[in-house]
Assembly symmetry: C2
Homo-oligomer: 396 residues x 2
């Protein structure tokens, strides 16, 4: 728990509430270590046991109401100005707070489209409605998705520094992996090698250890979200790895592509080089159009169309997503116009958001070419957070 | 992920669905590594990225429908018989499944009272209702709380073996702590000592590392859910520690009480001994009435009333909760008749459930006396999983 960042994000939340004309942001949770609303990491910094209300008010007040035994821990955490305990029911102190501050719009964490703004469980939604049913606040609840999208998307300088560090360390680990990989090693051995380095350096993995890293060699690999298998690296294979670390609570998410020479080769075969070049150019073209106000689907279109025009099948996923405290962060992303992304592909990109760009294509009989870069949106365009892969990495 | 236990629990879930006359249990989730429905650990064993339906049917079928990139990982996990992928929308394969199996009652994970049965977010509840709105299944959704309460509560032999091991190791660590503690050490030093042992043994902590262990010395301690402080162990203090480990995915949750002699003492002062004896007897009395069919509030009453009758303030929490894959597990517990526990205090206890018994009382100017034991409910009563504390542990 980095208290300085939490304080920055609370202050930012208050600005966002004023910008969006929302009076109160309410995080309503219980046993939050078990079913964890990710907003708690950003603006609270500890967990609660019983029904709890964490409230950030556009007037600058921050108040937490918790079961009495959770009060000392919250006070020691020190992120909220006012901490109130209750023994038998949250109702009385909670309604007292509302009657004092009289919020007209109360944002709570549910969202049809954005999982990171959807931390309120349906049972707790019913509890909350029951608490409010005979009060003037019964029709005040709105989705916090706009608040959370802005809060998670707009990275502060401290956050960007942490993210750059995670990117830098990930690229250093890719260099070590280049020296480790050779024909005869299995995907599992490569995965274990990476995990050992992560443990030695004291980092966390950026996502589930099942498939962080994901390591794929050759044709007929297990698919983008599967873990390393017993498949053996062979000459003539394309290898790709999807991997990230979490440092200071912030993630990286990058991919690189290697080619393993066959005997006598000193350059990659034409079809491998072409796949690499097309993929690289699709990233360059997508990056070139990113700027505030553009929609994610336009960015996705650019890379997707370029890959298809060059004779490859389109990738079966989005071009990119936000990165932050989790690897798949934020609301908007470089999403295709598919139903499963709801309205998110059509929302505008904002300054300060960090995205991956990660198209994919298959080179028949060789394997899958992927690169994943990270960019941050600036006033006039965007900049790489990663040093982008310019050439196939070649293994003898 | 222990596949054998997941298979046991899937089979048990099918039995429970038949017993409760529910046709289908649907776990509906997305990005489950981020907002994690705890039922996924019990019957799925891996995470999903996009909107996913994990379905256990009373006819014995198990089907998972996931974003296509998650399919290989789910197949490698191997816990569900049928795995179907989709690219653009879950709607078609999901409705196809429902039209084939025609469930009348579909249990989904929301619950007003039981947080562990409340893993469905409100946004995903809206997504689900939208998927079903023009189908015959639109009024089929019911809460899965009865299914989950039975599934988490009724421990299999393998589960009980794992829980006994976690209890045994916790008690061994308490023995090591007894030799470590002495006047002049701080709560934080004691906490760090325990965490070192846990790390060396390769165990996990049973709950948030903030306050696992919780270490309290002397009067005016920080409260039951706070972490260790810089308070120093002094002669004449009562010390108590609340601590548990997770081994093979199953938790322990135990407390013990120590007394630090003043110079010249060779027995504890009368008021300390009396506090200990009353607390111990309150546990014995509560344990004596536990059997299938009794309600949790009756068990809580027994200990609470005994403590109050002996002149102490009542404890400001429940007498006990279930333990399992998380430290605060299950639906019913030994809960007082307080609004914050909803209907749970009034539901019957069942065979196979594991509970803590953890009353608390304060000895003025000395500290807090707590013991926490674990019991498993049997056909005719209950048995300790822990070796209960019989005497104050004395420190020179």
């Amino acid at each position: 728990m980095d208290k300085r960042i939490i304080q920055e994000k609370i202050n930012q939340a208050i600005e966002i509430l004023n910008e969006k004309k929302i009076d109160l942001w309410l995080i309503f949770a219980r046993e939050s270590a078990t079913i964890h609303d990710p907003s708690i990491d950003i603006v609270v910094g500890t967990n609660c046991t019983w029904q709890s209300a964490f409230m950030i008010n556009r007037n600058g007040d921050t108040t937490a109401i918790l079961g009495s035994l959770d009060v000392p821990n919250m006070e020691m955490t020190g992120t909220f100005k006012n901490v109130t305990g209750y023994v038998k029911s949250i109702k009385e102190p909670f309604l007292e707070y509302l009657n004092k501050h009289k919020p007209v719009k109360i944002a709570v964490n549910y969202s049809v489209d954005s999982n990171l703004a959807d931390g309120l469980t349906h049972g707790m939604f019913l509890v909350l409605n029951n608490l409010l049913k005979e009060t003037p606040f019964k029709d005040s609840l709105v989705s916090s998705e706009e608040v959370i999208a802005a809060l998670r998307g707009r990275k502060s300088k401290t956050e960007l520094d942490y993210m750059k560090e995670a990117v830098k360390e990930t690229l250093l680990i890719f260099d070590m992996v280049t020296n480790f990989m050779k024909p005869g090693k299995t995907e599992k051995e490569v995965g274990a090698f990476i995990k050992r380095i992560v443990a030695e350096k004291g980092f966390e993995l950026a996502w589930d250890e099942d498939h962080c890293p994901a390591v794929f060699t050759g044709p007929d690999t297990a698919g983008a979200h599967a873990g390393p298998t017993d498949r053996v690296i062979e000459k003539g294979h394309i290898i790709n790895i999807d991997f990230g670390v979490k440092i200071n609570g912030y993630c990286s998410d990058l991919q690189r592509t290697w080619y393993v020479f066959e005997d006598g080769q000193d350059t990659a075969p034409e079809e491998v080089q072409k796949g690499f070049d097309v993929l690289k150019e699709s990233i360059r073209k997508a990056k070139a159009i990113v700027k505030p106000g553009i929609t994610g689907c336009e960015v996705d279109d650019t890379a997707r169309n370029y890959i298809v025009e060059n004779g490859y099948e389109e990738y079966q996923h989005a071009l990119g997503h936000q990165v932050g405290r989790v690897a798949h962060d934020g609301g908007v992303g470089f999403y295709p116009r598919w139903e499963r992304y709801g309205k998110l592909p059509y929302l505008p990109i904002e300054v300060g958001q960090v995205f991956t760009i990660e198209p994919r294509l298959t080179v028949k009989d060789r394997g899958i070419v992927t690169m994943e870069e990270e960019i941050v949106v600036t006033e006039n365009g965007c900049e790489y957070l990663s040093t982008p892969q310019e050439e196939l990495i070649l293994i003898k």
